[in-house]
């Protein structure tokens, strides 16, 4: 018998105690695959960052002069650009996460059979889910850092730095849900359904104006939107107005992330381990 590489011995004690250990050997190698794939497509990465920045600059030039000041999180007046920038970041974190976990995941799952190949190794469905979602978050994170740098130039609040972890959380929540949804799609044309869901989220999650402009009867609808929680969280952080309601926003996003990971893992298991 030939000797094995020392890195693949029986799992350690912790992995044996945790039932998770059976299914996850470390999503790191799944992330590594994505890094290799994208090592030469940095042009796409640049465009992913450019989009929200272009928005931001457009708002600064256009609405900045037109709208002037609006009521910010604590009720104090803020520049419109300072008001809308955190929301744009939240929306772009959402869009990036959804983009990364829908078509590419669908392609790997249904056509390229990348996950089938992974499942023939010690990796399990949870590794795949966590690995792919992590990659989306890492990529989204790179965009947010760049965005925040530009934003600090425009808005100038040091609190803006807090937006980076918040943007990661928003990415995580939407990447999880996006990947879970992708496992249910059967043909590329069905991506239109996802686009159909994302569009109203983008427009009506208090992104461009405060939730107070909606009549009471529909306000709850806005508050159901997961992006709304991201927008409120980030707007508050950017203004430096910390509020207990933020715990609720974080809770909603974290819960979405957890549900998404669990659902994705189950679906991949059900589809590929038949």
């Amino acid at each position: 018998m030939r000797t094995m590489d020392t890195t693949q011995r029986a799992p350690g004690l912790v992995l044996r105690i945790l039932p998770f250990g059976r299914y996850t050997r470390g999503p790191g190698s799944v992330v590594e695959r994505s890094m290799r794939v994208h090592s030469r497509t940095w042009v796409i990465m640049v465009s992913g960052f450019a989009e929200p920045v272009v928005y931001l600059v457009a708002f600064q030039i256009g609405f900045g002069a037109l709208v002037g000041q609006v009521a910010g999180p604590g009720g104090q007046p803020v520049d419109y650009v300072a008001f809308v920038a955190p929301a744009l970041l939240a929306a772009s974190a959402m869009n990036g996460a959804i983009f990364e976990t829908t078509y590419p995941v669908f392609f790997k799952l249904r056509y390229a059979k990348v996950y089938d190949a992974m499942l023939a190794t010690p990796l399990g469905p949870v590794d795949i889910a966590l690995g792919e979602i992590s990659w989306a978050v890492i990529r989204g994170g790179a965009y947010s850092v760049a965005f925040v740098v530009v934003m600090m130039g425009l808005v100038g609040s040091p609190f803006a730095l807090l937006l980076v972890p918040a943007a990661l959380l928003v990415s995580f929540a939407f990447a999880s849900v996006g990947m879970a949804l992708s496992t249910f799609l059967r043909s590329p044309s069905q991506f239109d359904y996802i686009r159909l869901m994302v569009m109203p989220l983008f427009l009506f999650s208090a992104t461009f104006y405060p939730v107070s402009v909606y009549p009471d009867s529909v306000r709850w609808l806005v508050q159901v939107s997961p992006l709304y929680h991201g927008v409120e969280l980030m707007r508050g952080l950017a203004a430096g107005v910390l509020d207990p309601s933020m715990i609720g926003h974080i809770g909603v996003l974290a819960a979405l992330a957890a549900v998404g990971v669990a659902a994705t893992s189950r679906r991949i298991g059900a589809l590929l381990l038949g």
């Binding site: 094995m4 890195t7 693949q8 059976r22 470390g26 695959r33 010690p122």
Partner: protein, 318 residues
């Protein structure tokens, strides 16, 4: 402690052992209760027509498809509970290539090795070794998509060895390979066997089964219809020689009734008659003596193909 018999040298556990193993898809039993045992170091074959349940069995052994019923142990462990540990020690060549089309040849090997938790340095060296093995060194940094079918197959096989597996599962490994590549692969598999790697191979190719397998089972309709070494199966289920008679188109009908009694057994195929006898030459003389005039005749040794025909009533080569 050693409940699984793992590492117990006196009575080593079989590499694979299945008892009354069943795989159902909805109502259909793709594998309908089979008993198999694969011993360490042997090359074991699953032979059978399309839909016999070969791949379904392989997937259960590879721990990517839970069994519906019966017992299964792979490397002395239960796939249900020890899937990742088992998969860490086996190599899998699926029936259909699933190479990573977003990566190069080299990256395919390296990234796959990383899925096993192997170190970066290790997989870097391993990839070079395996590309040489698969004769793909000059395509190392090419994308996978433009490779020929045979090259892809070779890469898939090379990939399955990245973790130095003790057990290799090869589902129709040579389908789509040209004769040269096929002989190359047979040579490599023989080499691995010498190194003690146990192999389980499915195939439609009788010649391949005779070349590679120490022992094989013939499957049909989810069941095992015969088991043994190639020569043992031929001895049990066929005669020493076979006489093949070909007739001009449309002239074959009715001929069999004139010669059937000359042979131990016969088969009527769409394009020829097969007469099974220990002495083909003598049988051919007797055929001629009866005034039967085929356009061509062939006397050959019995092969697994004949065993298969006998057992399933069907030819493997469509």
């Amino acid at each position: 402690m050693a409940r699984d018999g793992e590492g117990d040298e006196r009575e080593p556990h079989p590499m694979v052992s299945g008892k009354a193993l069943v795989k159902r898809f909805g109502g259909i039993a793709a594998v309908a209760g089979i008993d198999v045992e694969v011993r360490r170091g042997e090359s074991f074959g699953f032979l059978g027509p399309n839909g016999a349940g070969k791949s379904s069995t392989m997937r259960m052994i590879a721990c990517v498809s839970p069994r519906s019923d019966g017992e299964l142990r792979v490397l002395g462990m239960d796939p249900e509970t020890d899937g990742p540990r088992i998969r860490a020690r086996i190599g899998v060549v699926p029936q259909l290539d699933n190479l990573d089309v977003e990566l190069t040849v080299r990256q395919n090997l390296q990234v796959y090795g990383r899925y096993f938790g192997l170190s970066r340095a290790h997989v870097r060296a391993k990839a070079v070794e395996l590309m040489a093995f698969a004769e793909l060194s000059d395509r190392a940094d090419d994308q996978v998509e433009p490779l020929s079918g045979g090259m892809k197959r070779r890469l898939t096989i090379a990939r399955s060895m990245v973790n130095d597996p003790e057990l290799l599962l090869l589902d129709e490994p040579t389908t789509g390979l040209d004769p040269q590549a096929r002989h190359l692969l047979w040579g490599r598999l023989y080499q691995l066997k010498q190194q003690g790697v146990t192999q389980i191979i499915t195939t439609h190719d009788m010649h391949e089964a005779e070349q590679l397998c120490d022992r094989l089972v013939v499957m049909d309709g989810g069941q095992i219809v015969a088991e043994g070494s190639p020569s043992n199966l031929i001895g049990r289920f066929s005669t020493r020689e076979v006489l093949e008679l070909r007739f001009a188109p449309g002239k074959q009908d009715g001929q069999i009734t004139r010669v059937a009694d000359l042979a131990d057994r016969h088969e009527v195929l769409p394009d020829r008659l097969l007469l099974y006898a220990d002495d083909g030459e003598a049988t051919l003389e007797a055929v001629h003596a009866r005034g039967v005039r085929p356009v061509s005749t062939l006397i050959r040794r019995s092969t697994l193909e004949d065993v298969f025909l006998r057992l399933t009533g069907r030819s493997l080569v469509e």
